[in-house]
């Protein structure tokens, strides 16, 4: 499975929401690019607009200013080339695991037979072979996110945007799923942007991490994660990993302090 494209670029993206007494500025002039096949982590204080940025990147929401480009083409609406994995449980409770996965294929115009076959293939890929006929209600939280992952991948998108996909899982399952995401990405070579509030998670997964400041968010730091791939779980204990974690932690803390000061000045 080759991905011809998947180069994502945000140019001067600013976004805001109308609120009762005016406008809530959320993103402020964000510019960065993600190369094809790269995994980029986005981290920042909660409520800083990470999810909004992700929705801008995928065309679910047009930024107020600036523009997102996918392989040089402006992103104006959601497209089949980009898939989402949401934080909450987004599976359709009335569809079995297989039907949930197949649904995104059918939405893209796939025949039912082909969709079923591909859905099974991807359920197998995420380690859920044999669970095709289970309804979400009888799957555990981790299994549900595996189904969601299969659904996000089965259309063979060039870019997958993940919004804290493992936020609801416990530590053990999280680590397991992180390795799973890496294993699969290593095979499919698609571009991934993953939003998270877990430092450990973005360091483990990413090639590069963008640190966002408090609202209205700007990119305050961009850190290369020069850890070799594939990454075994044990890499978390390595000095390099811990250094990167400490570094990111400092960045976030500084960003938060600065925000506190500027708020104090006002």
């Amino acid at each position: 499975m080759s991905h011809p494209g998947g180069q994502l670029e945000a140019r001067h993206v600013s976004d805001s929401f109308p609120v009762e007494d005016g406008v809530l500025e959320v993103l402020n002039d964000i510019t960065f690019s993600v190369s094809q096949g790269e995994i980029v982590g986005v981290i920042g204080p909660s409520g800083c607009g990470k999810s909004t940025l992700l929705r801008n990147l995928g065309g679910l929401r047009l930024p107020k200013q600036g523009r997102v480009f996918l392989d040089g083409e402006p992103v104006l609406a959601p497209s089949a080339r980009v898939s989402f994995m949401f934080q909450e449980d987004s599976l359709l409770p009335w569809k079995t695991a297989e039907k949930n996965v197949a649904f995104s294929l059918i939405a893209g115009g796939c025949s039912a037979a082909e969709a079923t076959e591909r859905a099974r293939e991807y359920l197998d890929l995420v380690g859920l072979a044999g669970f095709d006929d289970y309804y979400p209600a009888s799957l555990s939280g981790g299994m549900k996110q595996r189904v969601a992952l299969a659904r996000a991948l089965c259309t063979e998108p060039e870019v997958t945007l993940m919004d804290e996909p493992l936020g609801a899982l416990d530590a053990e399952l999280r680590e397991q799923m992180q390795s799973e995401i890496l294993r699969i990405q290593h095979r499919l070579k698609h571009t991934v942007v993953i939003v998270s509030h877990s430092i450990d998670e973005v360091v483990f997964l990413s090639d590069r991490v963008m640190v966002l400041g408090p609202r209205p968010a700007q990119i305050v730091e961009e850190i290369e994660i020069c850890l070799p791939r594939p990454r075994p779980r044990a890499i978390r204990g390595s000095p390099e990993f811990l250094d990167l974690e400490a570094n990111l932690w400092n960045c976030l803390a500084t960003a938060r302090e600065n925000a506190g000061q500027s708020a104090g000045e006002r």
């Binding site: 995928g58 679910l60 609406a77 959601p78 497209s79 089949a80 980009v82 898939s83 989402f84 949401f86 909450e88 449980d89 987004s90 359709l92 409770p93 009335w94 569809k95 649904f103 995104s104 059918i106 939405a107 893209g108 309804y135 979400p136 209600a137």
Partner: protein
């Protein structure tokens, strides 16, 4: 058949099911015993407080079965027609109100004024408009079943999960697929609940309607036998009403379960 992980647990399950049924039956039997006792001990005057044995005896030996079945058939048919009309209108209007804010905004005061009016209160006007005929019964059942079906449909459409809406957008889902795969299944549980409530209230309404505005049906049967001072017959008719109502609810729940294998349908 896939016995799967629960294969080993099937036998105790069956036992549990029968134990439950036995427990439920014993409550019914206890109730009948008390009723029998009270009737025999305190109401010696015949016909004032018929005992279960008298009612059963009337049901088995006195009341012509074809008469009872005919009346039951009339009542059930009326309910099916009235509730179907109510479902068509209630689901239609409910879907519109659920999907379009403006329609909900415009319609809701109207609905909220008509909703608390008891279907019984419509009987005089129904007779005036439709006479002592099928039309009256249908109209009264319609008025009874329409509102619960309507409000449940609106609630159902409103309960669409925002993340499912987002998912639909991210998949660039067509309107048709969105309706079929997201809106309909989301609405289905409360829609089925609405239909069940509508059917239940419709069944109550048909009896009331038939007592005044019809020449047949179980309501008419009860009213007639009241005049004929056959209180065992009246109670037998009521018993039949209860059993049919129970069966209809059970059938609706069964259909609900078949329609929604993913959801729990509670009594």
């Amino acid at each position: 058949m896939n016995l799967g992980r629960f294969g080993g647990a099937i036998l105790p399950r069956i036992n549990l099911k029968w134990r439950r049924i036995a427990a439920q039956l014993s409550v019914v039997v206890a109730f009948l015993c008390i009723w029998q006792f009270v009737g025999m001990a305190y109401f010696t005057e015949s016909g004032v407080f018929p005992t279960p044995t008298e009612v059963f005896s009337a049901l088995v030996n006195e009341i012509p079965l074809d008469l009872l079945l005919r009346d039951a058939f009339f009542s059930v048919t009326r309910v099916v027609i009235g509730v179907s009309l109510a479902a068509a209108c209630g689901v239609g209007l409910g879907a519109l109100m659920g999907c379009f804010r403006t329609i909900e905004y415009l319609m809701s005061p109207m609905v909220e004024i008509l909703r608390p009016i008891s279907p019984i209160a419509w009987i005089p006007m129904a007779i005036l408009w439709f006479g002592v005929d099928e039309g009256s019964a249908w109209f009264i059942i319609f008025m009874a079943a329409f509102f619960p079906i309507l409000t449940n449909t609106v609630v159902g459409v409103h309960s669409i999960n925002p993340v499912h809406r987002e998912l639909a957008r991210s998949l660039s889902l067509s309107k048709g697929l969105y309706l079929l795969h997201i809106v309909v299944p989301t609405t289905l549980p409360s829609l089925v609940a609405g239909l069940r409530i509508g059917l239940g209230i419709g069944w109550m309404a048909v009896i009331a309607a038939e007592m005044v505005a019809a020449q047949s049906g179980l309501g008419y049967f009860i009213q007639l036998n009241r005049f004929l001072l056959r209180s065992e017959w009246v109670l037998a008719g009521m018993l039949v009403i209860g059993v049919i109502g129970y069966s209809m609810n059970y059938a609706a729940m069964y259909v609900g379960r078949r329609l929604m294998p993913w959801a729990r349908v509670d009594a």
